[in-house]
Amino acid sequence: MKLFERPTSSGRIGFAAGSNRVCGWVQIARWVAVCISATCIVGWVGSIILGQSVPLIRNAFADVDPDTLLIVDDANNSISGPAPFVGSFWFRGKLTSEFAVDTEFAGEPESVFRSNQRLWLSAEAELAEDLKAQVSGRLSWQTWISQETNARYTLYPELRDSWLSWSGVPWLPISVGYQTWSFGASDFFAPTDQINPRDYRDGIGASLETTKVPVLGVNVDFLPLAPTFRLSVAWIPFFEPDRVFLFGDDFGLFGPGTSPPPSAAFSGMSELSQRLSPVLVEALQPIFLGTDKSDESPGASTVGVKMSSTLGDVDISLHYLFGWDRTPVFRVDPALTTLFAVMSPGATLTPEVIGLFTDIQSGKLNPFGLFSSSYERLHLVGADVTFPIWEFGLRLEAAYQPSKVLYTREFTSISRPTLVGIMGIDYSWGTTFMASVELSYRRIFDFPAKTSIYLGEIDELRLAGLFTLRLFDFDALEIQLGAMAGLLRLEVVLLPQVAYRFTDAHRIALGARIFDGLNNTLAALYDDNDELFVAYEWSF
């Protein structure tokens, strides 16, 4: 087993290990057992340390008859009141364990089992009446096992929302630190919500809590400039890219389960991930993700402005974001295309390829210079409106980008004006049933004729929804279906889940992630990654 330290794509320090051993169902069962045991031990020890017994359902207290019990206490000041200011400190944590098994074994290098263990810790303090602080972090331990040979894991700490908030000037509250911003009213497509990067490494079925990455910045709210008008300004000095796996993971863009490769030029990418040791793949990945970032000067920072108001029963917000498009622009040397093509099944070494290898060996050709990528500036204007209509809540959102980076199916980058419109409807019947549905329409303007977009179309109409049914006392049983469907080109993502909350602190869930779609759709990319999962959550 090798162990080495590496910088991951997110800039975090992580540890990866690889081993070569026979790995079948027995091996998977062993890993599942080890992971479950470890989680139970951590949970048990933690509950003892924190003084909580794990089964937290308590006995009923004495029955209270509302008609007869009334005490009138005439003694003055019999209730303890807090001093003018009493500082407070809160600590909370959460342990989440997820074990997922791939149900479609599309290729031997594909992971057939993966586990995700996360420990969230958060401390919050009211230091003064107008000063509040929060520090939170996350420790993740992820494991992948392929059907054939390899088991890998990563362990990394991560700083999450950690900030200082000051409201000494009552109409000008300021917060500084790692923060999460929320622009726009859309829950699922969120075209305006682009201040924070996303972590896509858990796939498109990952929870919202996991996906959004806090970034270092300053937030200032001007309120109220008028009775119901407020202005919020976010400044993020340093650029932080999205977090993705290119390969080495089933949910990587070129993972072993992805199909089909975007073009012949990059068909070798997925071959690469299958032929190399996973440890080497992990090491190579940062090279390909080494997109040129903007320099860390004030001129390269991101600024987001939100103006919001409430007019009667209607909430209105306008947004402007001057930042960075997190989809990198690729520049690929034809020589690299030729080299990758050799890795495709059935490819032969041509004199051209041999010449290229000779140039690389002699130092005439720098292989790392054959591929480069960079980020472009982003301008985004958006607006959203929220209001009730009959028994429903209605959300409307629109976002326009004059220049959005897209990929063609030949995997070249292209920037075009893009407009996205969202209509969302929410409905609740008590807490027993809740439904939230969003319809999204995206239009790309001035796109070259006879050119196809990678994983998309010029016109896209998509429907997404979350349906939740809660049953039993304290809403203990939760049946949930998350879904996304392409209406113009068939693609479906289904995320069914059944969860049971034993107590306020303990919850277990069983679910599935199902992907299906026509060629060149997002769902088709992960078509071979259908999986079943079981998840456990302990809050303390």
Partner: protein, 258 residues
């Protein structure tokens, strides 16, 4: 009709609303007006810590702890209710903003999603954090709407009370009728019965304990029992501070996250 939700809402959102008010044989309108006015006289802002104990019909119990901050601006009530316990809902914050002539605005910040959601439409009839209260129960509405009829005075829990029957709720209300028993000298609600749209008794709100703080009588324990499901929720005031002033930012939906 009387917006009886106010009775529940003001308790949860602060717990200070009613105090001594002397008057002889007033009308139903007078009684309701005075009872509601108590919340507007003398106590304009404050902070309280509450315990919410929810018990289902089988006797299983869940407990929540709440920090409530409340004040008035331009005569309109503003409340911020933050959940402190248990850990899985810690940081969830409900913001209620009274509107003149409109239903209250309600926003719920969910820390897991880092997002503030507007509570609209039918969602307001949902359970407030698993309790027997609904989000609509939290609202402070116009007390002048509806029909109020004074019935014969009664004694409840040994206390002399006025009895008021209110009908004619809004179309979106989940109650058809509400009966109130109001203390004759304290003008505090001692008992409230809620009837569903079919006329059946659905909930009973009872005052369990009245204490004195800064020479004001306040309710420090009350129980809402759902007689149809057998569950009940008891609210305890653990501490309370009158007259606290808060910056506007406390009551702004954009700042719920921080």
């Amino acid at each position: 009709m009387v917006r009886y939700w106010l009775l529940i809402g003001m308790f949860i959102t602060l717990g200070f609303p009613w105090m001594v008010y002397g008057q002889s044989d007033p009308t139903a309108e007078d009684i309701i007006d005075k009872m509601l006015a108590e919340g507007q006289l003398g106590v304009q802002s404050g902070e309280s810590r509450l315990r919410m104990v929810i018990r289902n019909k089988d006797g299983k119990v869940r407990e929540r702890q709440i920090l409530s901050k409340s004040d008035k601006k331009d005569g309109l009530r503003r409340n911020r209710i933050e959940f402190l316990e248990p850990a899985d809902v810690k940081g969830s914050t409900l913001l209620l903003l009274e509107q003149r002539g409109e239903r209250d605005l309600q926003y719920l910040y969910l820390p897991a999603l880092k997002k503030t959601r507007r509570i609209t439409g039918n969602a307001k009839n949902g359970s407030f954090m698993g309790s027997d209260f609904t989000y609509a129960d939290m609202e402070n509405r116009d007390a002048k709407v509806g029909t109020k009829v004074r019935k014969a005075d009664e004694t409840v829990s040994g206390q002399d009370c006025y009895r008021i029957e209110t009908t004619g709720a809004d179309a979106d209300s989940e109650y058809s009728r509400v009966d109130l028993w109001i203390h004759r000298t304290l003008y505090l609600p001692i008992k409230i019965e809620f009837y569903d749209l079919k006329g059946g008794l659905v909930k009973v709100l009872a005052t369990n304990k009245i204490e004195t703080k800064d020479n004001k009588k306040i309710i420090t324990e009350m129980t809402l029992k759902n007689v149809q499901t057998g569950s009940q929720t008891t609210l305890y005031v653990d501490s309370i501070q009158f007259g606290t002033t808060f910056p506007d930012s406390i009551f702004d939906k954009e700042t719920l996250a921080r």
